[in-house]
Subunit: 202 residues, 2 copies
């Protein structure tokens, strides 16, 4: 099996970090998204939305979407658990994973795409919306700060996929000049802890 | 346990339909989102993002986010499976669920919020972005049409959570005048099949 990805993009990094935590080796095939290599007919046959990362199994079956690829490997290799073992853990981690994705990572991505024009050959950037998305992302960091005042990790006592998503989102947010503030002490403590894991370098 | 929701909103309908397919009874507490009842301090203590639906367990633990609530009940009541049994099924369903959420349901929601001003007391609507989101949603219906030419259901041979999400998104899309086109024969066949399930009335 192999994964089509772009080394510098934030979503592929989430998958690499997830697999590193699981100790799973993988072959990675680089796709240049700025040049639009992901939009070719060949790539769209693998993923109709024309996005990466995409996991291709040895029989040619493809699974796109970061969260879906992680779901596949969590089912194959349940330990160490990154998406929860009990129903309550699974639901709680899914809640935080989803909120970090929608209220932070997606907002950072929309801020990037709509204010920089990086993909202006394939979408209509709306800078005013991109600016609002950046404001939304900054506001969500305040929610995470309060959450991390009471919990060592985002979903609670244990490291999970939600921490991976948040780390990758916050690192990518530098491109639109959004950073953890000096007064967000709990976020800074959490960031150091997660960023120092070996998987963060994957 | 109980679920805080708004009967007319599309995401709560996804949860009701999911629970109806599983045969799980539930107490529902209505929250008026247009009046902003979801933004009270009491509700934000249950979900910091101030959104519904929210599942509250008998001990007061809360799980927000439609997909997370469904994940919780899928783990508690695996049959009938709506999120897959094998790793490949889980990954494939998660992929389609995610794409229907991001490329259809979210786009319909953004078109609604940014073009109608329904939530203008709590966000900055950007009509130009809302219009683009509506175009994105219409384009994704073409992808679903091609998918359903080869598969009875969105994730493949079996009914899944991805079909629930798509049905609720397409029904809600009427508010922004997006509908399945007469020439999208496979989507129309699929729509009739899913809309005729007893759970669609939940």
């Amino acid at each position: 099996m192999k994964i089509y990805e772009t080394k510098t993009a934030p979503n592929p990094r989430r998958v690499r970090m997830f697999l590193a935590e699981k100790g799973i080796d993988m072959e990675y095939v680089q796709v240049d998204i700025q040049k639009g290599e992901n939009l070719s007919a060949e790539m769209r046959a693998k993923n109709p939305l024309g996005k990466i990362p995409i996991l291709e199994l040895d029989d040619g079956t493809c699974i796109a979407e970061t969260d879906a690829i992680c779901t596949y490997f969590e089912a194959l290799h349940p330990e160490p658990s990154l998406m929860g073992s009990t129903a309550l853990e699974k639901g709680t981690i899914a809640m935080w994973q989803r909120q970090v994705e929608l209220a932070l990572m997606l907002q950072v991505g929309m801020c990037f795409q709509h204010t920089t024009g990086y993909f202006k050959d394939r979408m209509v950037p709306v800078p005013e919306y991109g600016k609002e998305a950046g404001i939304n992302a900054s506001k969500y960091l305040n929610i995470l700060e309060r959450r991390l005042e009471l919990n060592p990790f985002i979903a609670g006592d244990s490291f999970s996929i939600a921490d991976i998503t948040a780390l990758c989102a916050i690192d990518f947010a530098r491109v639109v000049n959004i950073r953890i503030k000096d007064e967000q002490k709990n976020l800074l403590r959490w960031y150091d802890s997660v960023n120092n894991r070996a998987s963060a370098k994957a």
